[in-house]
């Protein structure tokens, strides 16, 4: 779609830095930890606690997810999450399929940011099989990862607004706007890979699809539009008094709890810890880029929103830096794959982690499995959403039911990744 973007606004926005919204003087995060193993019978025999299932079918549980809440009136006393409704046995499937066949399956784990899944998977396999990746492919992977991060955070922002405001109300307005912007990025991906979703564009040793002519210009225009409109959406929601009431001080996850639970990503950064795998354990081409990491200290829903919006801006900046300078060279270090059994490995361990929009997405692979070593022996997906979801029994008690939905939204679980 064609949109007139005021050139002065665009050039002014190029100066926007990652830490545009400085951290306010809110107090550092301190979770009032609920007890996940609270014995309800012993809690208070007089209190007639109501059990409410924010059940698998619910407009706002971000996928099939059951949250059993013990309520004292509207106050949550104990929260017991049940996941596994979307368990498809991916890890078992990994023992049957070969390395070559596994890449398209992994798109479906974190189905909102498939590039990250594919990238962590092929990185783990390349580490295991000892395959080098040429510079052009690494650079392209970085670029695709940042574009995917923007798309994922836009979707999250729209869904979060919907959780707060309802599908028949103000939330859905922002949802529509964010999805409209996300379509720009999906169009760019479709230009490149042929698919809007579930790209299957990574292969062991490089990328499969090369950059078509005119792609850089399309990415530029998409990024310009997104950056320009992001300011409007931020003002729409994050300065709204109702939104601030709903999110300030709600769902505080402090640094200690986050680290103990293994939560990384925006939740940890919103709690005050400066930890980002792109900068601290660089992979792809991140060692050539300077990634500026935003942190906030309050650890509540509003802090997490701020961190994610700042990440969008940072990704926009990184894409602008990278898009015009993709290095020349081969796109893959292997010849095109002809058979499923092309890659084989002896017994060995490898672990590769990427910074997905939700945190550290890691793939741990033990090689030397079936099909004469062409399949992994065991493959484990260290999904960030599973760790993030495990904070719910600690964070929810003491809040009301409305807050439960807001907290669940700001924790941003993707059930495909939680359950695999």
């Amino acid at each position: 779609m064609e949109v007139e973007v005021a050139s002065s606004a665009v050039s002014a926005s190029r100066e926007i830095s990652a830490n545009q919204r400085p951290v306010t003087n809110r107090s550092p995060a301190k979770t009032r930890r609920g007890d996940p193993y609270l014995d309800i019978a012993a809690y208070d025999p007089e209190a007639d606690l109501m059990v409410l299932n924010l059940g698998p079918q619910h407009p706002s549980t971000h996928g099939v997810f059951r949250l059993k809440l013990y309520l004292d009136g509207e106050l949550i006393v104990k929260a017991v999450p049940f996941c596994g409704y979307l368990h498809r046995g991916v890890e078992k499937l990994c023992e049957k399929l070969t390395y070559v066949q596994l890449v398209p399956i992994f798109d479906k784990n974190d189905y909102v940011s498939p590039m990250m899944n594919e990238q962590s998977l092929v990185m783990a396999f390349e580490s295991l099989l000892g395959v080098e990746v040429p510079r052009r492919a690494r650079y392209l992977r970085t670029l695709l990862a940042e574009l995917q991060r923007i798309a994922s955070h836009l979707l999250w922002f729209g869904a979060f607004a919907m959780d707060l405001g309802g599908a028949l109300g103000g939330g859905s307005t922002l949802f529509m706007y964010c999805f409209r912007e996300r379509e720009l990025i999906l169009d760019v991906f479709e230009e490149l890979t042929g698919c809007r979703f579930h790209y299957n564009t990574h292969m062991i040793g490089g990328n499969r699809h090369d950059v078509p002519a005119g792609w850089a210009a399309k990415v530029h225009s998409a990024i310009d539009i997104i950056e320009h409109r992001l300011i409007e959406y931020e003002n729409y929601l994050t300065t709204n008094r109702i939104y601030l009431d709903r999110t300030c001080g709600v769902g505080v996850v402090d640094a200690d709890l986050a680290m103990e639970l293994g939560i990384t990503g925006p939740i940890l950064r919103a709690a005050g810890i400066d930890h980002d795998l792109r900068r601290d354990a660089p992979y792809h081409a991140y060692d050539e880029l300077e990634v500026r990491v935003t942190t906030d200290i309050a650890g509540d829903c509003e802090a997490r929103t701020r961190v994610r919006l700042a990440e969008i801006r940072e990704s926009v900046r990184l894409v602008r830096l990278m898009i015009d300078g993709i290095p020349e060279g081969p796109l893959g270090s292997r010849k095109p794959i002809k058979t499923n059994l092309a890659e084989k490995s002896e017994r060995g361990h490898a672990y590769a982690a990427v910074e997905s929009p939700r945190g550290e997405l890691g793939i741990y692979v033990i090689g030397g499995g079936a099909n004469r070593g062409a399949s992994p022996y065991r493959l484990k997906i260290r999904s960030p959403s599973l760790h993030a979801l495990s904070c719910l029994p600690y964070v929810l008690p003491g809040h009301v039911v409305s807050d439960a939905v807001a907290i669940l939204g700001s924790v941003d679980p993707i059930m495909g990744e939680v359950d695999r």
Binding site: Y37, C83, K92, A281, A350, H387, S390
Partner: protein
């Protein structure tokens, strides 16, 4: 090419080999005896700053001969991560017979709760000291542990319910 792989810091390798008498494996993290497991985790967390809970992976290794009998073994790999700049992983393995339980890290890391439950669910290894060891991914009344090597995808237990 830089990949966040399993390369560990020198001081951690020293710690593992000297204080906890770990055997280095040729193709994986060092092997630690289950008795030292809790102490190792505590030392790494408190003295070395590995405060982010990484991962727990259990894998089933069927029928290796040990003392003349065929026993199935389960190997569990734990991983912890440091915070902030130059973040590193520390990982180690434990190996037990099927049926023996491994000490649980729930007292030290709350994140071990769900991760260990998931490994119990899928591989069947029990964790001693875990407050609430029940299935995570599969329904409560599921029989069998799918990620065992003798659990074929198309057995009578596995079909669509």
């Amino acid at each position: 090419m830089s990949v966040a792989g399993l390369a560990m810091a020198v001081d951690v390798i020293e710690l593992l080999t000297q204080r906890f008498s770990a055997n280095s494996e040729p193709d994986g993290p060092p092997l630690v005896a289950p008795e030292h497991h809790l102490e190792l985790a505590r030392t790494l967390r408190d003295e070395f700053g590995y405060r982010i809970f990484g991962f727990v992976i259990a894998s089933h290794h069927p029928a290796t001969t040990k003392d003349g009998e065929k026993v199935d073994r389960v190997r569990v790999v734990y991983g912890l991560r440091t915070v902030g700049s130059h973040t590193r992983l520390a990982s180690w393995q434990l190996e037990v017979d099927v049926g023996t339980s491994v000490p649980s890290l729930v007292g030290l890391f709350a994140g071990a709760d769900w991760q260990e439950r998931e490994q119990y669910d899928l591989v069947g290894i029990r964790f001693e000291g875990h407050p609430d060891l029940r299935r995570l991914m599969l329904p409560e009344d599921w029989k069998g542990h799918p990620l065992r090597k003798d659990y074929a995808i198309d057995t009578e237990v596995a079909p669509w319910r």
